[in-house]
């Protein structure tokens, strides 16, 4: 079984939300591609794991989806950020920044700081 650690799952959700926020409605492949471009190999394998996550976000009301036409004119499911999702993105961005700042400070600590 291929289990990603929770932190990665959470990160992935945040990436999905941010991608949709910046780029507007996208289909699954589009989201996967953007994330791949930005994050490197996080989604290099197992792009498919994105779909259960999209469904989860949809159930939680952060995103919504509709059928639309893809660039090659086939039926594709397009995901967009909801108002709820935008708020969540803001909250989580804030939290993330906070966490990152703490961790950063922590990494900068040298032994003499405690002297």
């Amino acid at each position: 079984m291929n289990r990603k650690p929770d932190v990665q799952q959470g990160t992935l959700a945040l990436m999905v939300l941010k991608t949709l926020d910046v780029l507007g409605p996208l289909h699954g492949w589009g989201i996967a591609r953007r994330i791949e471009q930005i994050s490197g190999d996080l989604l290099a394998v197992n792009q498919g794991t994105l779909y259960p996550l999209l469904l989860k976000l949809e159930h939680e009301g952060s995103i919504a989806s509709d059928w639309g036409a893809s660039q090659n004119n086939r039926r594709a499911r397009f995901y967009r950020l909801t108002r709820n999702g935008r708020k969540r993105l803001q909250d989580e961005t804030h939290e993330w920044n906070q966490t990152a700042a703490i961790i950063e400070r922590f990494f900068e600590i040298k032994a003499e700081d405690f002297a």
Partner: protein, 885 residues
């Protein structure tokens, strides 16, 4: 909120599963198409482009699975799926399933049946209102080890009117009175009570009224309260019964009410009862004038709501001290209370808990057996489980599947077991010893049902745990590679071996317990009671005390009956006595030896009192050791005489000749009659077969008659003829006399050990079940191991092993299990059996013979269980075994 929202979506989603599957399919297809296009643009060939797209997408099935997981009410759906799968697996191997379900059914059934008794007797509150506040008030004299004696009338009145710790209290005394005028004369169990009796228990009558204080006044009109049973059986459930009169002991009582069938008087087991005011009782009514030294009346009281038992006890000690000052002869007597429930069930608690432990062991063995079967099956299913893991099932999912199978087995076994328990309880309940039947009906009710259900679920899960522990450790690759037939993980074999060892050890404990009880019971039955039982019949004759009110009348009746019976051919050996040893409650009376210095204040010697007609010793086969027996010249007019037993002579006349000495004793109120000792007779078991013979003193029936007695007849004519003769002769004297409890003496003695018989029988059954389960367990382990090792055996035989050496190999394997099992079980049994010692008679808890017999029995059974597999191993064809790989 997020959670709730997801949950609602999931519920909605579970309703249209198909649409969502299609959606995911479409999305995957589109995703791969887009990725492929991009790869094509990058210059790859179409086939390679698509292959890479799919690789990058990842395992579609696993993704679908986790997509479903997100989408649905996973728990319930998985459960349903697991259930479906479990049922399919069980149906696929019906032999295994039937054996497992039956094994569990036996275990659960036995537990539910015993628990239904425990529940009715020990757990359910007494069927009275607020029963926790009811206490039994009793007198005790620690200096002479007398406990549980009754309360005298003056003390009762004192406590009732002045004690602050009890809200109400009532005295009761019971015996049988003769109901006439309603068909056949019948003895009815009559409880003479003080008027507060029904108030103490807080029960309202079904009809009419209960007793009022004015009913207890000396000159009040005689009234009676009927039990519902009697009202239905004798009075046709007549709703207008109140106000009509019935005849008890030839005296009219006005019916005032009917008590519901659920109301039983504590200490009295008969369901056909009547209650009358104590003052109206032909016998006990007069006892109200007896002095404080007569500790005769059982008293039940209700504690004040705010008073603890401890407070009540210390108050009673104060009262005892005050009483001792007022009545010096009462010095040394202490009033005490005991919760009523303890008094009623105290004697049966430990035998019942013993039985409960025994069935618990049976269930453990059953569980070990099923765990073993499941383990063996999990091993053969290793490949299947490997495939499921390879297809994406995780360990938790597999564990859940295996546990579900265990739980299903448990519940199926539980259902069968509950049915078994219900069936056996409804058949066996009437045969239970009376002390287990007195309070609540014994049945499989809702509580017992839930207990059995919980137990079966637990049993199933525990059994299912073994394969889970094993399956969790195995690696799917190894399982797939090896499939079945090859060597398996050592852990599994070891687990199965230790389960078999556990079964043997548990069976040892159970069998030793059963064996000890069996030995002790047969010792009990082989005790010589000290009197004749062959061809002996007894019958109870009781005289109505209003019509037959004087000792002269009682004596005349007994003489008349004896003369008539002895005149009949074949009935020469007839006698009358009261009470009979073992079968009747012993009448223990204090006595004094004339000429001996008086005993210290409050102390007295006691012995069993028996009034017997001259023929009694001859009929009962009691041999005379010294002096003479009674004869027809010993009458009320002649000087009082007595015969004593050997024990009394030895204990109280050491190195003296008791003959000619005067013994002062008597049945109250004639308790100070000086009687000359004219003979000494052999001892007999007076109280029970288990208790040693106590001192006894006999008086001629004619000099100290009772209002009836036990007719004993030694005759080869058979019970029916003897019973008929006794009935005919009694009726020819007075057609209104009831004859009851006609029994053969062996039968009656049999009855007296009903409790011991009951628990011995049950423990034998449980031991038998344990033994067969252990045998099945060992058979299963060995036979499975043989089939797993057939290749190894083939190799051995190809290398020159002989048939018998292969057979020895297999037998040795099972013998090892047996030895380890015995090595654990025997010390465990030694440690545990001392809990049993109170129930044993004439056998030590460490009885070596029993232990040896159990070890031998288990050895025999183990070898028998290993024989078939060993034979199969012997017949392994090396060529087939080696080729089948």
């Amino acid at each position: 909120m997020k959670f709730l929202r997801r949950l609602l979506r999931r519920i909605y989603n579970s309703m249209d599963r198909r649409r969502h599957d299609e959606r995911l399919e479409a999305e995957i297809e589109e995703h791969i198409a887009l990725e492929t296009e991009q790869n094509l643009r990058a210059g790859l060939l179409p086939a390679e482009a698509r292959r890479r797209a799919m690789l990058k997408f990842g395992p579609a099935e696993a993704i679908k699975e986790s997509y479903h997981a997100e989408r649905r009410m996973l728990f319930i759906e998985t459960l349903l799926q697991d259930l479906r799968y479990a049922f399919r697996m069980l149906a696929k191997s019906p032999g295994f399933s039937i054996v497992a379900v039956l094994t569990l059914a036996l275990g659960i059934g036995a537990n539910a049946a015993i628990f239904s008794v425990v529940n009715a007797v020990l757990l359910e509150p007494l069927p009275y209102s607020n029963p926790g506040r009811l206490v039994n008030l009793a007198d005790a004299r620690p200096t002479t080890a007398i406990t549980g004696a009754g309360i005298s009338w003056p003390v009762f009145m004192e406590l009732r009117d002045h004690s602050r710790v009890f809200s109400t209290m009532a005295g009761l005394a019971g015996h049988a009175l003769t109901l006439t005028g309603q068909g056949e004369p019948a003895d009815v169990s009559t409880i003479a009570v003080t008027p507060d009796f029904f108030t103490v228990f807080g029960r309202q009558p079904l009809l009419g009224r209960a007793l009022l204080p004015e009913d207890g006044v000396r000159d009040a009109a005689p009234v009676v309260v009927l039990s519902e049973n009697l009202w239905r059986s004798r009075f046709g459930a007549n709703p207008q019964i109140a106000g009509s009169a019935i005849t008890l002991d030839q005296r009219a009582y006005t019916v005032i009410g009917v008590m519901p069938a659920g109301f039983h008087t504590p200490f009295f087991n008969k369901t056909d009862q009547v209650w009358i005011p104590l003052v109206q009782d032909p016998l006990f009514g007069k006892w109200q004038t007896r002095p404080p030294q007569a500790h005769w009346m059982p008293v039940i009281a209700r504690l004040q709501p705010s008073v603890s038992q401890q407070e009540a006890r210390s108050e009673l000690l104060t009262i005892s001290a005050a009483l001792a000052r007022r009545f010096p002869e009462e010095n040394g007597w202490l009033l005490g209370i005991e919760p009523l429930k303890n008094v009623l069930v105290g004697d049966v608690r430990s035998p019942l808990l013993l039985l409960l432990c025994a069935v618990g062991l049976v269930l453990l063995i059953a569980c070990a057996n099923i765990a073993n079967l499941l383990l063996a099956r999990a091993t053969t299913r290793a490949k299947e489980i490997g495939i499921r893991i390879a297809l994406g099932a995780n360990n938790r999912r597999i564990a859940r599947q295996l546990l579900t199978e265990g739980a299903i087995l448990g519940l199926l076994g539980g259902a069968a077991g509950i049915a078994l328990a219900w069936f056996s309880v409804s058949i066996l309940a009437p045969f239970l010893p009376p002390e287990l039947r007195q309070l609540h009906p014994i049945r499989v009710d809702g509580f017992v049902f839930s207990f059995a259900l919980a137990l079966s679920l637990a049993a199933g899960l525990v059994s299912g745990l073994a394969p889970v522990l094993y399956a969790a450790r195995s690696s799917p690759q190894a399982n797939l590679r090896e499939g079945r037939g090859a060597g398996e993980a050592r852990g599994s074999q070891r687990a199965r071996n230790s389960l078999a060892v556990t079964e043997v050890a548990l069976a040892v404990v159970l069998l030793v317990g059963a064996g000890l009880l069996m030995r002790s019971f047969s010792r009990l039955l082989s005790v010589d009671p000290g009197f004749e039982t062959q061809n002996m019949v007894k019958a109870d004759v009781s005289l109505p005390r209003f019509q037959y009110s004087t000792p002269q009348q009682w004596s005349a009746f007994a003489n008349e009956l004896m003369t008539r019976l002895q005149a009949r051919p074949g009935l020469q050996d007839s006698a009358i006595a009261a009470p009979l040893p073992i079968l009747d409650t012993a009448v223990v009376l204090p006595f004094a030896i004339a000429g001996n210095p008086p005993l210290p204040q409050g102390a007295s010697d006691t012995a069993d009192y028996v009034a017997a007609s001259p023929q009694y010793f001859h009929v009962m086969g009691i041999s005379v050791i010294r002096g003479r027996l009674f004869n027809l010249d010993d009458t009320l007019a002649s000087p009082p005489v007595a015969v004593i037993s050997e024990t009394l002579a030895r204990r109280y006349f050491p190195h003296q000749d008791p003959l000619g000495r005067q013994l002062v004793f008597g049945f109250p109120p004639q308790n100070n009659i000086s009687r000359q000792i004219v003979g000494v007779v052999a001892d007999m078991h007076d109280v029970s077969l288990a208790a040693d013979p106590g001192p006894m003193m006999y008086v001629p029936f004619a000099q100290a008659p009772f209002w009836g007695g036990e007719v004993v007849v030694k005759s080869s004519l058979g019970v029916a003829a003897v019973a008929d003769a006794i009935r005919t002769e009694t009726r020819s004297i007075d057609k209104n006399l009831p004859i009851t409890e006609i029994e053969t003496l062996p039968g009656a003695l049999h009855e007296s050990v009903a409790g011991a018989r009951f628990r011995t029988l049950l423990l034998e059954v449980f031991g038998g079940i344990a033994l067969s389960l252990a045998a099945i367990g060992i058979y299963g382990v060995i036979s499975f191991s043989v089939s797993r090792r057939s290749r190894e055996i083939g190799v051995r035989m190809a290398l020159g092993a002989t048939h018998s050496s292969v057979q020895r190999l297999v037998i040795w394997e099972s013998t090892k299990l047996l030895f380890v099992g015995l090595a654990i079980g025997i010390p465990a049994a030694l440690a545990l059996m001392h809990f049993l010692s109170a129930l044993l008679f004439g056998v030590a808890p460490t009885d070596p013979l029993t232990f040896a017999a159990v070890a031998l029995l288990l050895t025999f059974v183990t070898l028998a269980a290993a024989y078939l597999p060993a034979r199969r191993a012997m017949l392994v064809d090396p060529i087939v075994a080696l080729r089948c790989e």
